[in-house]
């Protein structure tokens, strides 16, 4: 294609073009920065139009499906039964509330699917928990729940500000394990480490704001 796109650049983000025209736009903007910028700006307008639509909320199951799809298997390479893997975060959250930590932010009634209930008993008998130690002038209140065999670690922070990275250390290595994902007043992250995590910290802008050591009994 020579020259630049016609009105199709503004129509593309609205989804009104037929497949042939839409593919032509995609091919063109792959090599034309001017038209790519036009499509981007039109896309921002289309996103603004979305703000006028009636609000809706996805079911908790959708978040779990996405999590299932993108989280790599890091233990023995074998995928656990889907419902069990997907239920760990919610089950751990339920356990956190039920042992009296007193945080009001867990809207468990809406978040806990019926098929997760059976996991609560399982999690209760297999996890430890520890409060994280504040490490800066602007700390974050956070807890860590973790399996007694070290196979999963669940970090939950109350009213976090900014992006919090979880940095883990094992006997052999350490590194950034991901960021806490916000949901209402809390942010959480579920890890499935290959090796036992001996300690972890939360970092904001590269500075530790909370840390914890994890204790285990016996060998994994």
């Amino acid at each position: 294609m020579t020259g630049h796109l016609d009105d199709d650049a503004e129509l593309y983000p609205l989804g009104v073009l037929d497949d042939v025209a839409a593919r032509a736009v995609e091919r063109h903007i792959a090599s034309c920065r001017t038209c790519a910028e036009r499509v981007t700006q039109a896309g921002l307008v289309a996103a603004s139009l979305a703000s006028t639509l009636p609000a809706a909320q996805p079911s908790p199951a959708l978040a779990r499906r996405l999590n299932d799809a993108v989280r790599p298997q890091t233990d023995d390479g074998a995928r656990r039964p889907k419902s069990m893997f997907a239920g760990f975060a919610l089950a751990a959250a339920f356990a956190l509330a039920s042992i009296g930590l007193g945080w009001r932010m867990l809207d468990l009634h809406s978040r806990l699917a019926a098929d997760d209930l059976a996991l609560v008993t399982l999690v209760h008998s297999h996890f430890n928990h520890v409060s994280m130690t504040p490490e800066s002038a602007n700390p974050v209140a956070a807890k860590v729940l973790y399996a007694r065999d070290g196979s999963w670690v669940y970090i939950i922070a109350d009213q976090p500000r900014g992006t919090l990275h979880v940095v883990t250390r094992t006997a052999a290595a350490g590194g950034d394990a991901g960021i806490l994902v916000g949901s209402g007043r809390t942010a959480t992250l579920l890890l499935r480490p290959v090796a036992r995590i001996e300690s972890l910290s939360l970092q904001r802008d590269g500075t530790d704001v909370a840390s914890a050591r994890l204790a285990y009994e016996g060998r994994r």
Binding site: L14, L17, A50, A56, I179
Partner: protein
């Protein structure tokens, strides 16, 4: 670069999870607008987000652009599903649903931004606004709009494109600056 955008572009799971945590309401609202079936709408969001996340090299921009990109991806996916379903079932497309205005309608995804956008839409010339509303709120293709309004296809495309350019200008100016 914004940590969220960086994580997303690097295909880190946290990038997708953070984007979903921030904008899931917008994603599902866009999908539900085209697909009345809740399960189908969630399949649409799931498929669209994963496809984009797995091809992150196609995205480069800031956080607002990422949101726009993802919302557009969900919308395109939902319209593809709607039109595919229509072809398979030989059914009519859903009845045109214009912008919700009734007091009985549920609140908008973003009430503040919604008011700003509605005001900007209201300032468009009538023929441009009608074409844009059929496109966005009516989920119609440009060909369908041309047929529905009895106006040549090229004219419809021009009206929609001009409406989009005007909205781009209008929405770039804070509402307070107009008063």
């Amino acid at each position: 670069m914004d940590a969220l955008v960086e994580d997303f572009a690097a295909r880190r799971p946290s990038g997708l999870e953070s984007a979903y945590a921030l904008w899931s309401s917008a994603f599902i609202s866009v999908a539900r607008h085209a697909l009345s079936d809740r399960a189908l709408a969630e399949d649409c969001v799931h498929d669209a987000l994963l496809r984009v996340w797995r091809a992150p090299n196609r995205f480069a921009g800031n956080r607002a652009m990422l949101k726009a990109y993802l919302v557009a991806s969900v919308r395109n996916e939902s319209l593809s599903m709607l039109r595919g379903q229509s072809r398979r079932d030989a059914r009519e497309l859903k009845a045109v649903r214009l912008m919700p205005e009734s007091d009985n309608d549920p609140p908008a995804v973003d009430p503040v931004e919604s008011e700003r956008v509605r005001a900007a839409l209201a300032r468009l010339p009538e023929e441009q606004r009608a074409a844009l509303e059929l496109a966005y709120y009516g989920n119609k293709t440009h060909v369908q709009i041309s047929q529905a309004l009895g106006v040549p296809l090229g004219t419809i495309k021009s009206r929609i494109a001009m409406a989009m350019r005007k909205l781009q200008t209008e929405l770039a100016v804070p509402e307070e600056a107009r008063r």
